[in-house]
Symmetry: C2
Subunit: 421 residues, 2 copies
Amino acid sequence: MLAGEQCIQPRGNLHMISVEEALDRILAEIQPLNVVQAPLPEVQGLVLAQDIVAQEDIPPFANSAMDGFALQSKDSKPHNGKLPRLRITGSIAAGYVAEHAVEEGTTMRIMTGAPVPPGADSVIQVELTSTESSDSPWVEIQQEVAPGNNIRPAGEDMRRGQKVLTRGQTIGPWEIGILATLGYATVPVVRRPRVAILGTGDEVIDIHEPLQPGKIRNSNSYLLEAAVRAAGAEAHRLGVARDTVESLREKFTEAVQYDLILTSGGVSVGDFDLVKDIMQEQGKMNFWRINMRPGKPVAFGQIKGIPLLGLPGNPVSSAVTFELFGRPVIRKMSGHAQLLKPQIDVTVENGVQEKAMRRHYVRAHVVWHNGHFIARTTGNQGSHIMTSLLNANALVIVPEGGVTIAPGAQAKAMMLDWPEV
Amino acid sequence: MLAGEQCIQPRGNLHMISVEEALDRILAEIQPLNVVQAPLPEVQGLVLAQDIVAQEDIPPFANSAMDGFALQSKDSKPHNGKLPRLRITGSIAAGYVAEHAVEEGTTMRIMTGAPVPPGADSVIQVELTSTESSDSPWVEIQQEVAPGNNIRPAGEDMRRGQKVLTRGQTIGPWEIGILATLGYATVPVVRRPRVAILGTGDEVIDIHEPLQPGKIRNSNSYLLEAAVRAAGAEAHRLGVARDTVESLREKFTEAVQYDLILTSGGVSVGDFDLVKDIMQEQGKMNFWRINMRPGKPVAFGQIKGIPLLGLPGNPVSSAVTFELFGRPVIRKMSGHAQLLKPQIDVTVENGVQEKAMRRHYVRAHVVWHNGHFIARTTGNQGSHIMTSLLNANALVIVPEGGVTIAPGAQAKAMMLDWPEV
């Protein structure tokens, strides 16, 4: 090796690993966080940490599916060719219980959702009855009804003792509805991860500052904050570390109070790429180069036991590698079983002409059209071309080894706006 | 009409309108909310209210794509069969500018992202150079480079004056990255809707309370709160109105301080279904019956100018009609152009045997399998069967008129977990 190379050559593992190996090695180090008891509105999007068993029948009581009259079904039979007339002995609104039973020859008005009174075995809807006036004590039954007619039995939806929700399920609006129905005001869930986001580099200034020569704004921290939130975690921007060991050490002292540290920049081969050094000083580096484009320099390891994912400084690399590695980490920490975006076959309308030796994740917009998924790539795919992210909802995957995709040819695409599988 | 029917018959419009007409009539009354200036992290998911024009070139200056040496490309030519040796006059880190120019026969070390020094027209990556030691003042150039080599020109991503984001775009993590890059710390967005959620009915108790005879827990308000949040709006539960005109009036006095009122229950034909009465007293009712299942009794109108969507009391009806009508309302208020979930062709593996005269939205789980979308329905489709919502990510649409779908036949399905189109 030449001396001149040594002075800015990488320290540590030179090996460039595959995307799959990187993902395996990352996820092997990540475990779901601890379980906490949390109230209903806050558990949205979190993972249920125990099976939920119905403690009651749902519906809790047999109730009417219609507005109508509760009766004994045998009383609905015509008698000697005449429609039966039943005496109305009361009225039951939803939320109230009958004060007496329905006896032979009698009936009670009943509203949808109201408990079926004792003695009654069916409900006839009001449209199939006739009364002479609103205060008439008699109602004519115009159609024969079978036992159980318009009655929703207790326990028809959920039976007491039945497992209704399963540990590991994601709690969405509908699961919240079921938990509320069963009276679970709080439930045990895997805690929401708290993620520290750290920019690095003397060139990075805050977004509120005017540009100065040689400087660029801290777009990555804001992008990653939003992406972390979209992945279901709390995001905490810790600002930008300078390119000194001292500045990085100070920032990492703060960062290790979180569940995951995301950095951007500082993981390449330059003299000032110190994130790897600190990782080796205070923790352990697992790997730092992946055979992919954009985003070869992705470092993974831990500092004081806290996993650290070092993303590249180029904004597109940072955005894409977060989707590929950061999001699955957050999902695994959150207890999700489905970690990865689905890959589907697409027709790449405009093709991918550019050869890349590394696996190439090409930003693309995929639509479903005439029974096919059609992908259109989003222009200049340079890792500093943020506009290539605009309108992209997928990454077309071009295999390693300088492969191109002819216009109209098939390829795999990862659907970024579909749920994980 | 018989007198007995009148006493619990509907007041107002008897007409049952189609889902499409209902949606048209609802959306015709909804306008995007006002525009506010909001800071970057908070605009996630909101709609941009003006075009964003780059005020600077991005990158703001020509910079190096590699760690290496900045030079005049003509100096990289071998001379008399010998590799050129250039004198190293300095080093430029990212974030700093060169203090002098690169002159003929000289070079400067340069890091990725650092500004290209004056005089240099190319960068050679360090791997193609050789130095005798780390402090040697000379470097051997081992490959000829062309002008522009490894240089990212200023403005290659975005040009000053270029429109980069368009009014009406949804701001996701990547758009936030672009706004940060351009120094937009705040941007004008359509305000996030604030939605009041009101349960109704004497039978409804809070989720913290033990069940009493005839009572059910307030699952709808919690379900809707989560669904409203998932649709990108703020949700405010206002509790449960009793089945009295006074109680409803009181709740509506509070509710009209929000942008949209969602009620559940109280819009059917019963004596105690008073939401429609109050709507007619204090505002206007547009319609209240839709030819669909679940969820025929959906009322729409306004109270004191605030749109009110009255959803049915049955939890499944409430959940499904929110997806069909409530979510598009929130999206239109939020300024989105894409309001509706995509409908795709699916193979209904287990079919739909149950005949319904109304349009039937059948809860189903859809997966992409062997080049087809396969739907499997989720069991008992009764509007009180909440467990039919579990695992459903789609609604299979069965046309009006008592149509069935044979096992393995095709149908349209609305994909609830895909983005709107």
